[in-house]
Every structure is written in C-alpha cells, then in structure tokens.
Amino acid sequence: MSRAVEENPETQQIQHLKKERQGYIGTSVPRTFDGEDKVRGFAEYINDMELPGMLYAYIVRSPIPHGVIKSIDYSKLLERDHVKAVITGKDSGFNMIGPLRDNPPLKYPKIRSLGDEILAIATTDPERAAHDVQEDVKIEYETYEGVFDADAALREGAPLVHEETGSNVVKANFNVESGDIGEGFSKSFLVREDEFSVPRVAFAPMGTLAALAKFDESRNLVLVSNTQQPFQLKRELGEAINFDPSRIRISQPYIGGTFGRGMALYPFEVIVASLALKTGRPVKIVLDRTEDFKYSPTRQPLKVRIKTGVDKRGKILAREVDAILDTGAYVSWGAFDARVMASTVTGLYKVENVKFDARAVYTNNVYTINMRGAGNPQMDFALESHHDMVASQLGMDPLEFRLVNAHQGDYMTPQGMFARNSNLKRALEIAAEKIGWKGPHMQPGNGAKKRGIGFSGLFHVGGGARVYHTDGSGAILKMDDYANVTLFTGISEIGQGSIQALSQIVASELGVPLEKVSVVYKGDSELRPWDTATHASRGTFVNGAAAQRAAGELKETLLKDAADLLKTDLEDLVIEQGIIKSRSDSSKTMDLGKFVRKSHFRNNGKTYLSYHYFDPDTEMADTKTNKGNISSDYVTGATAALVEVDTETGAVTPLKIVVVADCGTIINPKGAKGQIIGGAAQALGHTLFEELATERGEVVNTGFSDYEVPGITEIPEIEVEFIESESREGPFGGKGIAEMGIIMISGAVGNAVYDATNGRVTSLPFWGEKVLKAIEKSREPKAAQ
C-alpha cells in the first residue's frame, strides 16, 4: 500500500469497505435502466423529437476545401415562405469555438475544409430549402491551393490553413523528456528505428450527429445535445453566441453512441441555438448518414517514428518518438490525443531515458476529435509492433522481451504518473497461458493458411484524468416514503452502462435492494449535480466514488436518527435489504420506508437527502514539461490474439482474442466484459477494415457499404480475464475500464500476422492487399526481418 493511502483517512475507509465486498458488488446485473427501451425501439432520440412550431436547420456547406468567399448573396431566399431566418458568418457575430478558439461556427470569408458551414437557414421544410438554395444562394469563391496531409502541410512554403498563425504547426506543446537518450542509445547493444502510420477513421456510432434548440417555460434557451460534457457545454455555447450562459440549459436525450465525439461544442449546435433565438421557435438538425460520414470530425491520421535502444538481454535503455498528427482544418481534441500518446510512450514499459516529440498539423481536411482510447490505440499499435521487431532482431521471444521490460507493483513513470499495484507482467503471463503460447512461429498452419499469436500490453488512466482544472463530480441521493432511493448524477450515459454500476454501488453501500435504486442521469442537466465530463474511462470511477460516499453519508444520517428512535447506539444498527436491524437485539428492527414515513409525518420532521462532491487527489500536468500525476489510479492489461492469415489472399481472420484487464474491483462483471468486448470489436474494425479515404479533402467512402465496420460474423471469441487489484479512491476499489478493450487489439493482431507469416504491416488497417505485399516482401532474399 502506498504512502498516499496510509495518509488519507477517507481512502482507508474505502479500503475497509472493499474488503467486506458487500451487497451487489461483483454481481452481474442485466441492463435494467435503458436496455429494453433501446432494444425495443422505445428510446427517444433527437431524431424522434417533434415539437409544435418546430423549424429545421439547413446548412449550406463549402464545396471547396480551401479558399475565401468573395461574395455571398441570399436575398431571394428571404422571400421564400418556408424560410424563417438566415445567418451567415458575415453577420452572425459568433465567437470562435474549440480548445484554441480557431473554429468559427459559420465561416467567413476564409474556408479551410470541404463542408465548412457557410450559411444556415431555419425552415419549415428542409427538402425545399435544399432545393431552393441551389437557385437563391449565390456564393463566389476564390480557391486556394490546399494541403491534404501532414507532410504537405509541413513543406516549406506550403499554403497556410490559418494564415494568422504563420505556420501549419499547431501552437501547443506535447513534448515530454526524461533522462538522457544520448547516453542510453550509446550504451545500447542494438538501436532500431521504425515508422508506422494510422489512417483517418470514422466514429460511426448508430446515432448520427443531431441537436435541438428550444425554450423552457422561463424562456431559458435549452439545447438538447448528444454531449458528453453538459456542464461545460453551456458556457461554451453562451460564449459562442454571446448569450448569458446562466440562461442556457443543456438537456441530454438517449444518446446513440458518441465514442468521444461528444466532448466539444459543434458548429451546428451553435447554429440551431442561434436560429432558435432569432425565430423564437424550436430548431432541430439531424445529419443523415452520408452527411455524418462527410462532415463529422474523425479520428486523426497519425505518422510516428520510433527509435529504441536495448541491451543484449532486451532491456530498453533509451527511446525517442516523433509523432505527427493531422488535426484537420481546426483544432479540437484530436490534436490533444498527443498527450495520451506521450503517456503510452513513457509509461507502458520501463524506460528511463525517453524523449517524445509531437506536432499537430493543420491541413485542409475535416477536423478531428478524440476517439475512445484518445491516442493510446494508435500509439500502442506502433509501439507494440516495434517491440516485436526489436525482439525479432535480437532473436528474442516477444513475450520474454515484454516481461523483461514490464512493470509490476508500484512505480512512477518518467512523465510523473504514479501507478500503484501495476499488474502488466502478470497480465502478460495470463494472456500467454490462455492463448497457448509456445514461443515464436509455433502455431500449426494448414496449406496456404498460416496461424500466429501476437501480444500487446496496456497502460492507461483509470482514476479519472485531470485535463481540466477540475476532475470532480457530484452525487445527490434522495430517499422517498417507501425507501426508494434516487441517485442524481451528472454522468453522461453514452452507451457504456455506467448507470447500472452506479445503482449497484448505491444499493450496496446503503443496504437496500437493487430494485429500490433509480438513477436520474439524462434530461435537464440542471436537475443533476456538476460532472466534469464523461471521458477518459472516468464515469464509473469518479461518479461512482461520489455516489458511494453520498450513500455512506445518507446511511450514517439515517442510522443516527434511527438509533435515537430505537434507543440504541449508532454502532449497533445496520441496514440490510432495506431493513434497519440491531446487531444486539434481533427484536429491534424497522422497515426503512416506515422509518422515513415516520420522519415525514410528524412535527419538526425531516427528509433524507445526501450530497457528495468527489474530486480525485490528482494534479494537472505541468504546462512546460507535460509531467504530472493526472490520474488517481492507472490500469494495466495485456492482449493475446490468435489469427489465421491466408497467404494467397492476405486475408486476416482473428480466431481468438484474450484480453486480461486489471481495472480494480469489478462492480458488474457482465457490464465490464461488455465494455471490453465492445472496445475490442471496435478495434478489430480499425485493425482489419476501417479507413476513411479522402481525395483532396473530400471523404470518399461515405456509407456503411463502402466503409466497413465489423458485424457479429467478423468478431471471434473474445475471452476476458480480470485481475482485481486495489484502487486508492474508486468505488469499492474500482477503476476505469471503458477504453481498455480498444487499445491493444491492433498491436496484438499485427504481431500475430507477423508470427504467422513473417510479414510485417506497419500501417492500419490490415487489408488483404497490404498483408499480401508484406508477406511477399518478407520472402525477398534481402528482406530485413
């Protein structure tokens, strides 16, 4: 146990609670809250919402990727009876949005990507609007030469996406350095350098982008948004439209998946809000699937060069990594994934001398945002592929190479992240055993079909992530006359199932039957306490910790009052299954509901509520060094993949995936496994199928027939094994889990392909054509292995 645990009485209490393993912790609970509504089609999403007098926003987008608007004329449009308001970047008065405030919600005069929002209409009939803009809107453009990948953008004299910045390199520092790489490399027995790339991929959730702006009875502006950060969004929106944020309320409907793209305010959200204010009527927009593929932010393309020096036994002595991220036309969170990449480079395996440099680069492509894993899946693929290449050159078993360099126990990464009870070594060993590893190139093949096994490891935040000045969340509990408990939480339910875990945490801590707990988790965010955002695997960890503490406090208040009523000591009483019981006298029992009713129906009565605000004991990274202990706990894990490669077609078929995850106490095993399997399935898509192709900034494959995501027939057996370690502050010792499944798959599958064929593919996805070329290359006499 670390010092921090011993010194903190509150965390000691949590450790104590964890040992008892009470109530519903560790019980597989089916998805009672939203599961049935979603599966049966009763859940109301934004596309289902129709309101009296509602208008629709129609957006005219730029047909060119780079240039300026010379003139814009829409006077004829105003004469159409279905048109109720028109705004353009020329007259909107909007402020810029995005972390660097570089994205005007309506663009004028500069155009930086194809699909840039130029003009927006509030209309009663979007079909007619689409038709009429062809005739009524006259826009003259001057087209500039564009830059469509990071290399082109970095070239001397390249056209500038944002002239005012003087460079296409985004002004943000992601670099991390520790030790002396020069010395490390000079002492190395072997120094190897490799390059990898990861393409642009689409988020492609079931729910397309949408928003609805309306007014409540007090004429507050209400934005119905599929956001993951309702409490930050109101300020961002207010600032964008110059409107008092205290008159804005954010409401969350059922959300059809976000995978990270709900972390920022969208131009179309600003547009519907502004059109609603202009017209005084509700205004809705729903992007169709084609538009969602074409105009929504994507995961960023990455190019990375990795240089590693090792001693004879494979111990890593130095590492240097250069990453280039294509942020697209504007900076959203896509560029900031470089921060997470840094923690993978420095924290995944032991490395004292390390230097990580990253540049985010503006291009005239669609802008990018952080996808589940936030850069870790991309960097994990590159690093873990590189590790196998180093091991192979050393003539070393790739598992052995990992075990030599893996952490076990407590350690501080060179980036200042303090990991407790790390289990990377154990996770690798378990994964190897479960998949049946016998050493390199030992899997039997069958004719043209060869089999191989590959490994990868994981290091990720699991105790929140302090990327804002706050990482806190509140929880409110209220008990009714029948001892039903309602938890009010600021969490965003985006498909992950956290609310189920929260209900288990509350029921277990309080001692009430699970079915007595309901959760208010969507709708008007003003009816729920502050939450920083649902991201970085923090939902169950932070909101769960707040809920557990609120439940503990409610229990204490209840028992104190019950002790008075039953004329006994507080310590003598417990709550079990909704009944207050005396430990010393079994005749002294009282139904919790009856107790609450008694407290209501009397003079000087009382109602039972509790509130707790939990903010993890962490620090923000230093802005110069990018070092700091940003998370209360870190998670580790390992993945092993068994694949079959058809050496005549290059087709890669995963046969079995084993994911070993240490994410603290498992609260709901069924939900936890679902999270891992879902993430792994998504990663298999990124590994085997998905690449958003662009031509001069235009997305080419704009639908599921051309952009393939895996279906049930493409997903192999995925075995999930949990190692339960102790977390310092999490609910019942739990840590974050949401991103663990998605991070390791590409690396493990790539290494398995190599193990099967000697073919090394250094870019995703592993399309047959590419794999076949890699196999052919490995058969060339002089091929470097």
């Binding site: 005549e648 077609t649 087709a651 085997l688 080419v700 393939e708």
Partner: protein, 287 residues
C-alpha cells in the same frame, strides 16, 4: 436520408405492370427492394415512379422441376434459393451463391429476379447463373421471351431487358454428371464482395467434358471465362490443369479498381478462387 418523393403504382396484372413500365420511362419495378431502396435512400438514384411487382401471381416465390428443367420464379428470395431442395440437389452452385449473399436480413428480402435485373457485376447469383447456362424469362407488353444468360448482361447496370420487360423467372436445364462450386472473398460478410467465382464442370472418368465458369467483380458485367472453359474441355482435372485454367481465366482480365482493392489484387483473388474452386471439386471427385 429518405428517398425523394415518388409515385407508387400497384398494378393488378403482369401485363398492366409491363404497360406502366413501358409508357412511363422513369418508372422502375420494385421487387425485394434490396438494391433499389438503398440507392433511393442515398439519392444516387431517384425514380419518379415505382411499380410494385412483388404481389403479381406470376412472380410468386417458387421452384419447380419440369422434366429435366428447374424453373425458379422471380420473387424467390435468396434464403429460399439457398434452402430449396431441388436447387441444393441439382444446382448447388446457385444455392451456395445465395447462401453467401450479405446477411440473413438481406437474404430474407432480396430476390433472385431483382438480383439479376439490377445488372450489377458484384451480385453473387449472376456468376452462378452464368455457370449454369440459365435462361431469363422476361415478360413484356408484347408477351413472353427467353433470354440466354450469356446475352443478358450488356454493361454496368445495363441488361438486355427491353422497356417494359420484367423478369418473371429463370429456367435451368439440370446439368448431367456435374460438379459445381461457388467461392467468394469479402472483408466483412455484409460488404460487397471483392471477387467471386462460380464453376460448373461435367466430368466423366475424371475428364472434363464441359465447363462453364462465371466470374464476379472481374469486369463491368458478370462474365464467363470462356478461354479457360475451352482449355479445360477433355482435360484430366489435376494440379497442372487447375493452375493453367486459373491462369487462363484471369490473365486478360481488367477488373475494376476502387478504394477497396486495386485491379491487380482483384485479379489475384480471382486466380486464387479459381484454383480453390477446382481443387475443391477435385477433392470431391477423389472421395
């Protein structure tokens, strides 16, 4: 996206349907809707009028044997084609091709008539029907006619159907001493195939008496590998002849290239599939 507005006709007879389609140039027939509806929803294609044909008596799902011929009605779904006993027994290549179409939902709705009428080179059944020397039964305003499948596919999405003509079914003569195989390669099951091959060979004492080979996604239309078929005739099926057949079937191909695969890679896949189909038939014969 929703389709653009259109006018929907529900004729009472096949003749009425043909006349409607003939006199309304922009009208399109709707059977199972597995190609037409997605195109309309994407607004790649927006016909102003739709003529429903799925309810017409002559079109109803059904497979029957008439002497030495199998007759398959137009509205027979892929799932029915896959599971039909007559087809499994006599035309296994067609059954296998139907089983390999996308997912169960699409196989439940998609029909053999629609699949062929679409004229898409990436529809599994086209290669299988080419390999089986099928006849397309077409009904127009001036009556019925039979179109040999070899003459049916003219160009990308263009068939030999005349204005107003509707496919009512297919006729296939039961091949004698026939061995058949269908194989395809896709990245994911529901995606369009990268390449596929349908083979139908008549064997006598291990010697190929006749051969028909259909290739998919190999050209703007579904095509036959006629040179390879000729070569294979009167040859013993063995490793050498299999390699040579695959080589001849693919050497002059110029398959389409797109974001999913280059022409060279498609050619390679067709070659591999050709070999695998014949090898699998060789294994069958040996057993």
């Amino acid at each position: 996206m929703r389709p653009r507005p259109f006018l929907l006709h529900r004729p009472n007879t096949l003749k009425e349907a043909s006349e409607l389609l003939y006199s309304h140039e922009d009208a399109k027939p709707l059977a199972g809707g597995q190609s037409l509806i997605p195109m309309m929803k994407l607004r790649i294609y927006s016909p102003e009028e739709i003529v429903m044909i799925g309810h017409l008596p002559e079109m109803q799902p059904g497979v029957k044997q008439e002497g030495s011929t199998i007759v398959i009605n137009s509205m027979t779904t892929h799932d029915m084609v896959h599971h039909n006993e007559l087809i499994s027994e006599y035309l296994p290549v067609l059954s296998e091709a139907a089983a390999a179409i996308a997912d169960q939902q699409i196989r439940n709705r998609g029909t053999i008539g629609g699949n062929i009428a679409h004229g898409d080179p990436s529809t599994n059944l086209s290669a299988a029907l080419l390999a089986l020397d099928a006849k397309v039964l077409a009904s127009g305003k001036d009556g019925q006619r039979e179109i040999p499948i070899d003459e049916f596919f003219l160009d990308l999405f263009t068939t030999a159907l005349e204005p107003g003509e509707i496919i009512t079914g297919f006729k296939v003569d039961i091949p004698k001493n026939s061995r058949q195989k269908f194989m395809k390669i896709t990245r994911s099951d529901t995606a369009f195939p990268l390449a596929f091959v349908a083979v139908n060979i008549q064997l006598s004492d291990g010697v190929v008496k006749d051969a028909r080979i259909g290739l998919g996604v190999a050209a703007p239309t579904p095509i036959r590998a006629t040179e390879a078929e000729e070569y294979l005739k009167n040859k013993q099926l063995n490793q050498e002849t299999i390699l040579k057949t695959a080589e001849m079937a693919t050497k002059d191909l110029e398959p389409p290239g797109d974001v999913h695969a280059s022409p060279e890679y498609r050619k390679n896949l067709l070659n591999v599939l050709m070999k695998r189909c014949l090898n699998s038939l060789l294994e069958e014969v040996k057993q």
